[in-house]
Amino acid sequence: MAMFSQNPLMNGPNYSFGDAPKIGAPEGAREHRFDPYTDNGGSTLAIAGADFAIMAGDTRLTSGYSINSRHHPKVFKIGGTTADQHDATIVLSVVGFAADGEALKERLDSICKMYRYRHGKPMNVKACAQRLSTILYQKRFFPYYAYAILGGLDEEGKGAVYSYDPVGSYEREQCRAGGAAASLIMPFLDNQVNFKNQYVPGSGEGHALQERERRPLSRNEVEILVKDAFDGAVERHIEVGDGLQMMVITSNGVEEILLPLKKD
């Protein structure tokens, strides 16, 4: 029922939290409940390449069946010297509850800035990844409802992607999809990035089958893959759409690309 009351035209004022006045309750009695979380939908995606990493997210912000914004970014540069983040080398993406995502981003950003101020050098991704896990776990019993992915280049200059659950479990991976359409995108990534279920033609049957050898994908290939993944997700998930924001992290810094997605 809560799902339908999101539309202000139908039911008068709408409440994003569960403290709406109870209709039909006995006079004077009012149930007080505070639900601190909302799911704002959307989806994110990160792929690590040989010498780059791409972080992507759609720009739709929803609550229930309504679209609150078509231009709400989910991917952020982290730990630059200034607020405009022109020299940032790390990128964070967040999906889930937008307010928690925003708070998490601000927190991690200020920590990275403090690190730069104290040590006179930027934080590397590995350290930042561990710190993000700590931040999330510190709120183990009132978590940030956000699925975070952190991307950058490691000490050897290779693309690095770290994915998180809301309470700080994390893992370095080749690729990861997060958010509402994660279940649609993730098998596609297995298939197209890690070549899962792909075998060398004519290599035999059963155990004789030879897996197709993995090779690092070029930046262009990955950009196309990301666009295809989101085009698929947009088609079948109502919470995903409007715009595709991509951050490409290379040794030259972070490049931001904005592409249109379907707006229906």
Partner: protein
């Protein structure tokens, strides 16, 4: 899945009760005539009941009409049979695939458990790995695939999708239906 002058239908082989796998050889695709196929997912007992029921109904149709049932006719039979049980439904979500016996045009459609038909021009998915299958099909499928390419597409889509679903997998059956030829293939897949 629809291709150029052909259709494909595929299923996994797992039968399980929640997390426990009871059988790893439980096909979910049934043939009713030369080129009419029905895929079923849902409650296993209703899978058997429904597939047996349609075998009976299609056999009776063949005896009465002295011809095979067409996919479109069969789809409407499925729909009306499921709607008959509107207030105590069979817990299945069927998929029909076939070629029209007269025009050889590909035909696919899906249903909810009470028989609402979903006609599609591209693909239909059903079962516990629906989300994953939508993601795969939406990105791998393209119009006018030749039979061999359609086989590769449907197989890659199914295998990758079920590998991301704990409740599906354990191999697969794939049928490629052409004008005067039906090819059935068994895919081994991951055994976990």
């Amino acid at each position: 899945m629809v291709g150029k002058d052909c259709v494909a239908i595929a299923c996994d082989l797992r039968l399980g009760l929640q997390a426990l796998t009871v059988s790893n050889n439980f096909p979910k695709i049934f043939q009713y005539g030369d080129n009419v196929f029905l895929g079923l997912t849902g409650l296993a007992t209703d899978l058997s009941t429904v597939s047996d029921l349609f075998r009976y109904k299609v056999n009776m149709y063949r005896l009465r009409e002295e011809r095979n049932i067409a996919p479109k006719t069969f789809a409407n039979l499925v729909s009306s049979s499921l709607y008959e049980k509107r207030f105590g439904p069979y817990f299945v979500s069927p998929v029909v695939a076939g070629l029209d016996p007269k025009t050889s045009k590909p035909f696919i459609c899906g249903f909810d458990s009470i028989g609402c038909i979903d006609f599609a021009a591209d693909f239909i998915v059903s079962g516990t790995a629906t989300d994953q299958l939508y993601g795969m099909c939406e990105s791998l499928w393209e119009p006018n695939l030749a039979p061999e390419d359609l086989f590769e597409t449907i197989s890659q889509a199914l295998m990758s999708a079920v590998d991301r679903d704990a409740l599906s997998g354990w191999g697969a059956h794939v049928y490629i239906i052409e004008k005067d030829k039906v090819t059935k293939r068994l895919l081994k897949g991951r055994q976990d």
